[in-house]
């Protein structure tokens, strides 16, 4: 059986399952943003957006769009009941000051010691952009990364040492890929979950540093089409 990698929605769904009731959570742009739609029903998680929204909701229903409501990626969003607005310096005080429980971020590369590279590929044709990535990497209590396991060329993105400039050293605690869930620990990279048909040996071929399989490992099998929360 050829393992079928997870799609973006399934990766976001998996990351969302680990968010706890009462967590204050910042979602990076890209796949992490999708996680807001897949928090289990009945569980209250409060989403923070760097541009000054605390209590951000899902994307607006058709006809309910509000041009004054944008998320970190400048997509239209909504406010939930209980939500409020703050100005930028306070939004980053919340980030830098350790007030967020979790930040879900995208990444180009993660190292075996949890170094994160997600702000520049040093492409000389384009200016770099850091946005809030360094603030989040340093400030949130738990940094979890959602990313494709390999590059478009099939090369590992979980490396012994990052090749791109770092966003922050040693900050990543958990990695959700399209193939596995992996924890970054002082003992090394521990594989917690594998998609159906994936083995540790096959995953190791796609990963530079040594992987260890958790004795309690599970099969990573999200719903084929995770049900998104409505606005």
């Amino acid at each position: 059986m050829t393992p079928e990698p997870l799609n973006r929605e399934q990766m976001a769904w998996r990351a969302a399952q680990d968010l706890r009731e009462g967590d204050y959570v910042n979602l990076g742009i890209g796949i992490p943003t999708l996680a807001a739609s897949y928090v289990p029903p009945g569980r209250e998680v409060i989403f923070h957006s760097e541009n000054g929204i605390l209590g951000m909701g899902p994307k607006p229903a058709p006809g309910k769009e509000d041009p004054y409501m944008v998320d970190a990626g400048k997509n239209l969003t909504t406010l939930v009941a209980g939500g409020c607005f703050v100005h930028h310096a306070d939004a980053f005080l919340m980030i830098r000051g350790g007030h967020l429980d979790v930040s879900l971020l995208g990444a180009f590369e993660v190292s075996e010691t949890g170094d994160l590279a997600n702000w520049t590929t040093e492409d000389p044709a384009f200016p770099p952009g850091v946005g809030g990535a360094m603030d989040l990497a340093v400030g949130a209590r738990a940094i979890r990364v959602i990313m494709e396991h390999t590059s478009k060329k099939g090369e590992p993105r979980i490396l012994k040492a990052c090749t791109y400039p770092l966003t922050a050293a040693g900050c990543v605690k958990r990695i959700y890929t399209n193939l596995a869930v992996i924890d970054v620990t002082p003992q090394g990279l521990i594989v917690l979950e594998l998609i159906p048909g994936m083995t540790l040996e096959k995953l190791q071929e796609l990963t530079e540093p040594r992987l260890q399989l958790s004795p309690d490992w599970k099969v990573l099998a999200p719903p084929a089409a995770p049900k998104a929360r409505a606005a």
Partner: protein, 223 residues
């Protein structure tokens, strides 16, 4: 009687000198004082240093200032946002300088100036390429970099409502950088959707108090 309202955007940006540092509030296209940016283009100041989160959008406002060669330097966190072709062309032609800063560092450096402080140590960017060349200090076992205050000569602010004293309120996420930039410049100029009578704004809902505001102009509603 105090009245900070001026009649036109031209009056609002009058006197901005060549070489000024201009704080341009907004996040993407939301909460940007595009009418004041257009007026600044008409006014003609050159060699500007722009502090903004992004680097302009389309062919208006900040993008127009950049494409007409008025901008010497952009201090921002994320230039690659929306249609940033005006910035990209100038960046590739090396006709302007980019200083990239973490987003929270930009806002805190401005608040630091507003608060009359001489700078702060931050763990953000310590040990990374963006922290290179900055003074460092280990505080409680963690490496920090020193960040200086950041002052604007002018701030261009977008608010929803103002009264004649210059008290301001905003709409939703259009608040973003506006309050911190309004505090951090020698001359704070505001475009608003509407003026209200003094006393009409709920004092609990005033986000920027009048002490930070110098000029207000009504431009009508826009995002």
């Amino acid at each position: 009687m105090i009245d900070k309202q001026v009649k036109t955007t031209a009056e609002a940006v009058a006197g901005v000198r060549d070489g000024s540092t201009v704080l341009v509030a907004g996040f993407g296209a939301v909460g940007v004082a595009d009418n004041l940016l257009e007026a600044l283009h008409e006014q003609g100041a050159r060699e500007l240093t722009i502090v903004a989160n992004n680097s302009g959008n389309g062919d208006y406002g900040l993008a127009r200032l950049i494409s007409s060669g008025r901008v010497r330097k952009v201090i921002c966190s994320f230039p690659r946002s929306g249609d940033y072709s005006a910035f990209l062309n100038a960046y590739r032609a090396k006709s302007l300088e980019l200083e990239l800063l973490p987003q929270g560092t930009i806002s805190e450096r401005m608040r630091c100036h507003a608060a009359g402080l001489g700078g702060f140590f931050s763990p953000v960017s310590a040990g990374t390429k963006l922290g290179e060349g900055k003074e460092t200090r280990e505080i409680d076992g963690r490496l920090h970099v020193f960040e200086k205050p950041l002052k604007g000569d002018v701030a261009l602010i977008k608010a929803n409502k103002a009264d004649r004293w210059g008290n301001l309120s905003y709409i939703k996420s259009a608040r973003n950088f506006n309050p911190v930039m309004a505090m951090a410049a020698d001359l704070t100029v505001v475009e608003v959707d509407q003026m209200v009578e003094l006393g009409e704004m709920d004092p609990e809902a005033v986000v920027t108090p009048s002490i930070f505001v110098d000029r207000v102009v009504v431009v009508g509603a826009s995002a």
